[in-house]
Symmetry: C2
Subunit: 650 residues, 2 copies
């Protein structure tokens, strides 16, 4: 009899049709598995989920209370608005993102105390909803601006989007309750107001689109899908009007269907693309799906940082032009990382293209994991690739501007990222594996248990044993299998040249992409995938001008970086020697570095009368072998200068 | 008898004590000459002054009318504010900058029609001034926010600064009249409200400081100087409070006296430094003067583009960190160029340090001159050094966002730059020459006439004949001279290695800096300075990461650039060969270029398995000799891609 490998604490009811899946398309190349099917048990992502459980979620709860953002709902109920309102126009959404995170987390862990806090929070939101379903603390009351009077910047539909996502999470982990009803009422209200015969405008910030499609998937109510499609189709024709940042800021300059590469505000563009992908999948709109897939792949090729980070510009939090990727002040917003993971996961499910799984992995390890501090109580909003001066430690009790420091801040005046992280980390299990009629696919690697039903109602169970990404060996133990043949498919990351796959006596080298084994497995069978993990030099495309003559180091999926903490000097004057590979001793990565001695001179441009530029280089000091740290870990040891791309000495 | 070399049309009364000097410090290394002393007759700057006279000023007059920014004053008088107010909170200042330009221009040319327009404009401003001297169309009336209720962003004192500068220009070219009285009343009002026993705050945007010092210089009224000093001293202690961009945005994070390198909003930092220099000079505050000089030289060394442009960031229009100078989206605001010229001119007068004259020249040719289109009817607000995609032609009748296009726009919603250019170009003559008791100094070169009184009341007259910067030969003809010895001092630009100076039979090589000839001159004497003009390669400091492996071309004071118009392809894939000097045939500059053939690939980072980056380079095409154009001329032939820094093929 097959072993039940599910965790004791996993509490998503196994009979729930959604099985705790954050994204549940009705069709596509692969079927997602949910939190009822996959648990992460050990290693990097388990640690991060534990940090989320023990620190991050509670930290966010404290801050939304302290900032008065929950209090806005109390004030609404008690008639104290607009006088007592706190925070920006989108602050309601932080409560909703947190409710989504709490819903997934309760579903994942069965934490009764968290369930009680979740219910208490819902009880404070509920009475603020108007009888027609409208819910927003910023608009619509006497003394406030009217409902939907500022679709450019008001974020009302964006807030509903996160409310509905919270309702979806609750429905998929618990079933109908007050939060689900609030979300559904809000969705009905949106359809009433913005439906075919109603207001034909769109929200300045996409997000409602993904939410309505997912609510359709939960409820089967086609009206939600049609509303989402309508929002996607309306956008791109100038309905939002002009702003100083240009219509591309909110993707209203051209329809998403005609977009070839992403532009404007990165989070907005990525959320919209994710919503368009959802609509395309449900409607069988292959043209729209292809447009979204192509623009995503092109954006990965031309407008994405080595870390997977998206958005080069602080101004407008936006994408730059093709290959305009300066490491200085790389904006690479944490939320854009979350959004890229959302989008690429959807495209992976729809198309099976491994580039999307590569993007998910790269972005999770080097953007999402980089944001929270080791203690889970401060966060990066932006994720620069070159820090030229050590930042100042943010004040512990004060919300920071969104991008003020090289150190993580406990909270921000615009604090979208911390709550976005909590909901993402709570659902990490859903990114590991998928299924189809023929078998199971593993896309991301962590110590985990996986259970899936494949074609013919056959049950498959797997246990994944690995110290990845510290180590490249991934052992997959079959814990449950039907008697007949099925296919186990394993992703080989694009960087993993020379990976090997072993099953019993068979042993072969596998190419990046997907490697499959189709056969009759037996319980206890072990399949071993070995990914070559030695640290490697990585060079940029010849068009990325800003890092010409520079090189980075990667180890497995991890982007490494150099901190002044390890160099003992500013990273601004370092040169690295690339004639030998980086030294990698069990994951401790070191490179041979030189520090330039530089004259402080006047005008910094001139004739080439010395070997390096204007003759300011007066010598160099051999710094020996200098340790690099994973980029996601930087600045956990205090203020530092840091760079991912290092000039070569050659 | 000496020839009177003054232009027929020069109308600044020669008996005016200020002689039409825009900046008139009471002490310093060198005494400025004014518009009554220096006229530009031929060549590059004469052409630009003609463009200003015939197109730019009238263009600005039309636009401030069309935009309703003059109409705001009518509306104030007619009680139609705030309902009928148009434009941003600082729009009054555009009228004042234009009045300043018109004042200088009438003084320079005696244009009677322009004088009539100037008086008509003043007549519309005057009645809007309150009896206590307050004048602003944005604040203080019923239905408007109270006076001085928003010093962070309200710009009231900034607007006075420009009003007072207009009054100073009028006083120095014409004498007291209504404009001078309006300005003086405003200055008195400022001293009444913000004096010792009054409001101790400062304005979010410096500018009042330079204006009050100059009005002190005109009137001798010490109260204005003391008020300026007080504003300088108060700033830097957090009086303005916190904003998302940080206190350094408006230089309120530390006193200017303690600032070692400029930070925050570039125009604000530069205006403040200019005002602090003025205060220091008048008060004999050598410590403050030294602080301003050091921070300026350091900013030139570490935070200035090759063009002289300042301000790397779009966000906050601000300086970047040391050596953070990405050519992509270089902000390099036109007004920061104007401000840098203002500051460096003041420091040149005070210290005699030729680095400031170099900065003035570089910035005038490559930022100030780059902004207006050939027809003087559209302008750059920002001055990028790398344009990756051709921009769209702005609509002729619509004000553009401040930085939306690679093409110059007729007007902007924030339109500080066009009017700032008009006042600067009208006063270009004042930057050419100075005097001291011993003689005359020439700092900038143009076909010009110069007349100066040196020690002992001796009169010197010079005629400068040159086609500079097209040609490097500068002939100075003595047209008036005392019988005894005096010193002619000529600036040799920092790039001019191997310059020669000839006078009669004496001929010598002169080093960059200042070269002097002291002797008894005779009328008709010719002194010839020859500056080597051949186009040259220019390399960046080893710390400017963003242009590593790239090279620029300069010719004399001109920064050159490559446009796709001349390459016949995008400049993004070019490589240049630096083994030979650029080809320079009479000012037509060409470089040997190669175009890379590149695969469109996926992920743009990887192993070094080909000669250039990730193997995307599949070949190259010899583009032969490709013509470069002066940077200030770019995009006059329609949309293009452009770059100043070009990757080397080596």
């Amino acid at each position: 009899m097959p072993t039940d490998v599910r965790h004791d604490h996993l509490t998503v009811p196994a009979d729930r049709p959604d099985r705790g899946r954050p994204v549940a398309p009705s069709t596509g190349r692969w079927r997602p598995l949910g939190l009822a099917d996959v648990t992460i048990d050990t290693g990097f992502w388990a640690d991060l989920q534990r940090l989320n459980s023990t620190a991050m979620i509670a930290h966010c709860e404290e801050w939304v209370e302290t900032m008065g953002w929950i209090g806005n709902f109390d004030a609404a109920v008690e008639g104290r608005l607009p006088a007592d309102r706190r925070g920006r126009e989108f602050s309601d959404s932080e409560i909703y993102k947190l409710l989504e995170a709490m819903s997934w987390e309760v579903g994942r862990t069965g934490d009764a105390a968290l369930e009680a806090r979740l219910q208490a929070l819902v009880a404070r939101i509920a009475p603020a909803q108007d009888t027609d379903g409208y819910l927003n603390t910023r608009f619509g009351r006497p003394g406030q601006e009217p409902r939907y009077s500022d679709l450019q910047w008001g974020h009302e539909l964006y807030c509903y989007g996160h409310l509905i996502q919270a309702g979806v999470a609750r429905a998929r982990t618990h079933g109908e309750d007050e939060l689900v009803r609030i979300a559904t009422r809000a969705a009905d209200h949106v359809c009433d107001v913005f439906g075919h015969d109603g207001d034909r405008r769109v929200c300045g910030h996409p997000e409602i689109e993904v939410a309505l499609v997912e609510l359709y998937r939960v409820t089967g109510e086609r009206r939600y899908l049609e509303q989402a499609r309508s929002f996607v189709d309306r956008r791109g024709h100038g309905a939002l009007g002009d702003i100083e940042l240009g219509r591309q800021y909110f993707q209203d300059d051209r329809p998403v269907r005609e977009t070839t590469v992403m532009d404007g505000h990165a989070v907005r563009a990525l959320y919209l693309a994710a919503g368009a992908a959802d609509v395309a999948v449900e409607d069988g709109d292959d043209d729209l799906l292809a447009a979204v897939a192509i623009q995503t792949v092109t954006t990965l090729a031309r407008r994405t940082y080595l870390t997977g980070g998206m958005g080069a510009h602080h101004e407008g939090e936006s994408f730059g032009q093709d290959h305009e990727l300066p490491p200085d002040r790389a904006y690479s917003e944490t939320c854009a990382g979350v959004a890229s993971v959302m989008l690429n996961h959807r495209l992976l499910l729809a198309t099976g293209d491994p580039r999307h799984a590569d993007a998910v992995e790269r972005t999770l390890f080097n953007v999402v994991a980089a944001s929270p501090a080791e203690d889970g109580r401060s966060f990066y909003y932006t994720n620069t690739l070159h820090q030229r001066v050590p930042g100042a430690v943010p004040e512990a009790a004060v919300a920071s501007p969104r991008a003020s420091s090289s150190l993580r801040a406990p909270w921000f005046e615009v604090s979208c990222c911390p709550t976005n992280l909590t909901r993402t980390i709570a659902t990490l299990g859903a990114y590991l594996a998928t299924a189809d009629d023929d078998g199971v696919q593993l896309h991301q690697y962590a110590g985990a248990t996986v259970r899936a039903t494949i074609g013919g109602g056959r049950e498959v169970g797997l246990r994944v044993e690995t110290a990845y990404p510290k180590d490249g060996t991934i052992r997959i133990v079959v814990t449950e299998t039907p008697d007949d043949s099925w296919r186990l498919t394993l992703r080989v990351p694009s960087w993993a040249m020379g990976a090997t796959l072993t099953h019993g006596a068979t042993h072969r080298v596998v190419e990046p992409g997907y490697a499959a084994l189709a056969r009759r497995f037996a319980v206890g069978d072990v399949i071993e995938l070995v990914l070559p993990m030695s640290a490697r030099w990585t060079w940029p495309d010849a068009r990325v001008d800003a890092v010409r003559g520079q090189v980075a180091v990667e180890r497995g999926p991890l982007v490494m970086c150099l901190e002044s903490t390890d160099l003992g000097d500013s990273v601004n004057v370092v040169r690295v020697h690339t004639d030998e590979p980086p030294v990698d001793e069990g994951g401790v990565v070191r490179v041979h570095a030189t520090r330039l001695a530089l004259d402080e001179v006047g005008w910094p441009y001139g004739s080439h009368d010395a070997t390096d530029g204007t003759g300011v280089v007066t010598g160099s000091v051999d710094a020996g072998l200098v340790t690099l740290v994973p980029y996601h870990h930087w600045a956990n040891r205090g203020p530092s200068t840091m760079r991912v791309w290092m000039p070569t000495a050659e």
